[in-house]
Amino acid sequence: MRFEDLLRPTEKGLYCPPGDFHIDPVRPVERALVTHGHADHARPGHAHVMATRETLDIMGIRYGEGFAGQTQAAAYGEVMSLNGVTVSWHPAGHVLGAAQIAVEKDGVRIVASGDYKRRRDPTCAAFEPVECDVFITEATFGLPVFRHPDDREEIARLLKSVEQFPQSAHLVGAYALGKAQRVIALLREAGYDRVIYIHGAMQKLCDYYISRGVDLGPLAPATIDRAARDQFAGAIVIGPPAAFVDRWARRFPDPVSCFASGWMRVRQRAKQRGVELPLILSDHCDWDELTETILELRPQEVWVTHGREEALVRWCELNQIRAKPLNIVGYEDETE
């Protein structure tokens, strides 16, 4: 069987002809297998959706209960058969519930890894390498300049600044699913035990993480209590990045604007957004993690879905690994 006969890119996303299903389709389809809950991968309107319990719950929180005709939960390690194609689910280490999907038929196995990272994350299960013939990888940070530092150092810089500027509120922009909870969990690991204030858009997802056993410590909504004008002085406030350039941000005293993102590695990106304290924290692989994963798996072919495909393909060529970009339209990387 040719690899493309098992899984191929289409306008709607990755499609498996013998199994008759799509993986992370960007348009409504009959049967969708979804790797994780970020909006560009998990879209509403499919007839059947199969995903991990957590991903289904997250889709329900974001889109409401009727986001799909039918749903079916899959567990990590679970192996199932769809029209004679074997499908199994493996942790991707990206956000809570994120899975790699392995597709196998006639001795050919392709792993669609969705979005993934290799470093430890207290809020989700760690990536598990799965042997395969074709490894489908993202390349959000697929340039050798992207090398994320140690998370603990980034959190330490935030805490140092909080100590240096006790009159200021530190506003941390973080994507509402995954990044926000990871920042909070990392702060807790660093020993920060004060109340962390969160934007309303994050409440439900934080509650959900807590219900799944992720310890986030004391949280409170970042709403104004008129009796206590200085309540945010010295506080850490976490909200979606867009909120901090909006009028919502004006309630905070002397704010220091921070942004938790892998893009913060590039100074000009931080400067353009008016970020004063960039925190290089990413839920995606950096360059070293991408290339080490490929070397570890040694697949016959690497397919690159989205991001900076050309550089990763070039690297594969240099390392004598066949590689090609899939050019799937519809996955964004700005949400990181």
Partner: protein, 535 residues
């Protein structure tokens, strides 16, 4: 190096002055000698070390990284030092070279020969983390631009050591990196270092702004008046073979004015206005501020430029004459010494700022509005009995500036601010009408980001959000049509011709004076009005 790199990263992205001071003072408090001294010299660009060409760095990285991958990365990042700092493989843990100290790097570079350069740089790149590599590359390529003036640095040192900033300014030019005696003193471990430099800077005395109402409380008989010249305030000092021209804040700007320096054949320290001026007979004809701008912010000055725009000093105070420190004399007495002193100087480079005779404040007001020379921007009033003290004491010296120019312009673009204002559209580009009367278009004439109250800021911000036409990143273009738009009354100090702006004019010190919600945009001013204001 880590602490220094972190400091640079924070300073570059921190817009608030107070926050910068805090970051600097904390760094100085946490960092040992001699690293902290080298760090502040690097930031104020007072560090004299071997510089390295970008080509050498490119060659180093080409040995480590695939050329095509480097190309993709450079395209994405856009800055050579940053690309190299991020892409360089490592740090190599087994190099055994754990975070080299800034002082070790600076001292090695001071002693190194040019041919040692590549090997040294390569070793450090291997030992440093990405932020450290970036700091190193900026340090050795001379690209350290991080928005910290030496004045701000002196203020930070003053905050750190609890000393008056003028004391630090006074000492500054006698000191060299890594400033060990200075820190000994700031830490309370030694006496204040003696200023050993010849021709030191003497912290300047500044005037407070005033108006007719304020002046009415003072007796005109106590004051002398002079014109306020539209140049830059300088202190020119010559002692023991040493000649220096200092800015108002104590920066040594001698190198930009070799023509004036050559004429400083005296022993003393003069306070005065640096202007462009052409000697004609016994008098000097003053050039405009745009002429002077041709001479500012230059490292070298071609002879042709010196001939076309010669600079002169219009003296108004004498701080030191030979061995005598005159600062404790009263102004009237200093003025008398000054008049004699200037007589002995070459008349094509030095003249005296003349006194303006007056009896009443009304006289002064009248003269202020009808100055005899276009390069005058107001009057100075100095108490006859004022001794020369550093800083800005309230009372002995006043400046009464001419009323600003005003123009009604239309808001065209708004940009989001920084820091406290990052959720507000607070930087405004405004334009005036040009072209035929029945088919006029707006042409941008300036940009302003202050002059309004916090309340007004909220109102403009709302206007911008409700009237956005297009967005370009942090900038929005807003509706600016003959019958719909926001008219801003803009105040400014002067107008220069400009080849860089489409309108052909550039405003000096523009700010928003009033919001004219009442005025329809088609009644805003036309470009011809501005052109008529050009000198």
């Amino acid at each position: 190096m880590k602490a220094f790199a972190e400091l640079l990263d924070r300073l570059v992205l921190t817009p608030s002055r107070n926050a910068k001071l805090k970051l600097l003072a904390d760094y100085v408090a946490e960092t040992p000698d001699p690293d902290r001294g080298y760090a502040i010299a690097a930031i104020t660009r007072d560090l004299d070390i071997m510089s390295v060409k970008p080509a050498m760095i490119r060659a180093l990285v080409a040995e480590r990284v695939d050329e095509i991958l480097f190309g993709y990365s450079y395209d994405f990042v856009g800055d050579l030092a940053e690309t190299v700092s991020l892409i360089w493989p490592g740090p190599v843990e087994e190099s055994g070279n754990v975070d080299p100290r800034l002082s070790a790097i600076v001292e090695a570079l001071q002693q190194a020969s040019r041919s040692d350069g590549p090997k040294l740089v390569e070793n450090w790149l291997d030992a440093l983390d990405p932020s450290g590599r970036y700091a190193l590359l900026k340090l050795i390529t001379g690209g350290m631009r991080i928005g910290v003036s030496s004045r701000l640095m002196k203020q930070a040192l003053s905050d750190y050591g609890g000393k008056d900033v003028t004391e630090i300014e006074e000492l500054w030019h006698g000191l060299t990196p890594p400033y060990l005696p200075l820190f000994q003193w700031l830490d309370g471990k030694a006496e204040k270092p003696e200023n050993l430099a010849a021709a030191p800077f003497r912290p300047v005395m500044l005037a407070t702004p005033t108006d007719a109402e304020d002046l009415a409380r003072h007796d005109p008989a106590d004051y002398l008046a002079e014109w306020k010249w539209d140049g830059i305030r300088v202190q020119v000092t010559a002692e023991k073979d040493q000649r220096r021209i200092y800015s108002r804040t104590g920066d040594d700007i001698s190198a930009a004015f070799p023509d004036l320096l050559a004429a400083m054949d005296f022993a003393g320290a003069l306070d005065g206005e640096l202007l462009v001026g052409h000697g004609e007979g016994d008098a000097i004809v003053t050039g405009t501020f745009s002429d002077l701008q041709q001479r500012l912010n230059r490292k070298t000055v071609p002879a042709k430029l010196q001939a076309k725009y010669p600079v002169i000093l219009r003296a108004y105070d004498l701080l030191q004459a030979g061995p005598d420190d005159l600062r404790s004399l009263v102004f009237e007495a200093r003025r008398e010494r000054l008049e004699r002193f200037v007589e002995s100087l070459p008349g094509d480079r030095f003249d005296l700022s003349p006194l303006v005779p007056f009896d009443t404040w009304e006289d002064v007001a009248e003269k202020r509005n009808n100055p005899p020379d276009p390069v005058i921007e107001g009057v100075m009033l100095k108490r006859r009995d004022s001794i020369y003290v550093p800083g800005r004491p309230k009372g002995p010296w006043f400046k009464w500036k001419r009323d600003p120019y005003l123009v009604d312009a239309v808001l065209m673009y708004a940009q989001r601010g920084h820091g406290k204002r990052s959720s507000f559209y607070s930087d405004y580009t405004f334009g005036v009408w040009t072209g035929p009367a029945d088919d006029s278009v707006l042409v941008p004439v300036g940009k302003a980001y202050f002059g309004f109250t916090d309340e007004e800021l909220k109102l403009i911000d709302k206007f911008v959000r409700d009237n956005t036409v297009e967005r370009f990143g942090p900038v929005r273009s807003v509706r600016a049509e003959p019958d719909h738009g926001l008219v801003l009354e803009v105040a400014f100090e002067g107008l220069n011709r400009s080849t860089r702006h489409k309108s052909g004019v550039a405003m000096r010190f523009p700010r928003i004076a009033r919001l004219r919600w009442d005025k329809p945009p088609h009644e805003a001013d036309r470009l011809e009005t501005l052109e008529a204001m050009l000198d």
